[in-house]
């Protein structure tokens, strides 16, 4: 099922919407130079992480998955596999799990949580709250 259209306020409808990499970048990676720039950095990050199979999926939230033409950055949640061990990662990948360095190098705000955490739903609930105290959709990208 494709990611649904934006609502009138520019957010996705409430829910966790699934997309593969191709659909994700077709939908959110085009439109303005700024959006394309953020998308390029996200793509680089995904391509570094994907071969290691340490991440089950990525949840993208915040302005990048809204209708905002020029999102300043992207906010992502790495949902990690049980085998994930940050200390074993090559440094080029490890920095993608360091919020300060990931922001500086790739312009992305990162969180991470194990896929089997009982608190994943609570986190997704918190991330979906808008400033207007409504709920907006998030996008789950399968790497």
């Amino acid at each position: 099922m494709p990611v649904p259209p934006f609502e009138s306020g520019g957010d996705l409808p409430e829910g966790l919407h699934q997309a593969d990499l191709t659909e994700f970048f077709m939908r959110f990676g085009r439109g303005t130079a700024q959006r394309e720039r953020v998308a390029m950095q996200l793509r680089q990050a995904f391509e570094l992480v994907r071969p290691l199979q340490i991440v089950a999926r990525v949840v993208v939230w915040g302005s990048f998955v809204t209708a905002k033409p020029a999102p300043a950055d992207a906010d992502i949640l790495w949902v990690t596999r049980p085998t994930f061990d940050r200390s074993q990662l090559p440094v080029q990948v490890e920095v993608l799990f360091d919020p300060v360095v990931a922001k500086r190098l790739y312009g992305i705000d990162v969180l991470s949580i194990p896929e089997d955490s009982a608190y994943l739903a609570t986190l997704l609930d918190g991330l979906s709250v808008t400033r207007a105290f409504t709920k907006r959709g998030l996008v789950e990208v399968t790497l």
């Binding site: 940050r86 955490s117 400033r131």
Partner: protein, 71 residues
């Protein structure tokens, strides 16, 4: 920046949810794994707390009738 009480309540709610997650992860994860993943949450919590503090400390606009009563 929080502009009104609705945005304030939304930020409070989001903060509470993320704090619950951090508290839960403390119990679920090994100390090392917890340390490895906590920094992003702490930054997010700090950012929201700063926004809340800034909003709460911002003076309310005083309506003319209140000013009249005070003088």
């Amino acid at each position: 920046m929080i502009q009104n009480d609705t945005e304030f309540q939304a930020t409070q709610y989001r903060l509470a949810q993320i704090e619950k997650v951090v508290c839960g992860l403390r119990h679920e994860l090994s100390p090392r794994a917890f340390a490895d993943c906590i920094q992003g949450y702490i930054l997010e919590i700090q950012r929201m707390r700063e926004e809340i503090d800034e909003y709460l400390l911002r003076p309310l606009k005083v309506s003319p009738s209140v000013t009249d009563e005070a003088t």
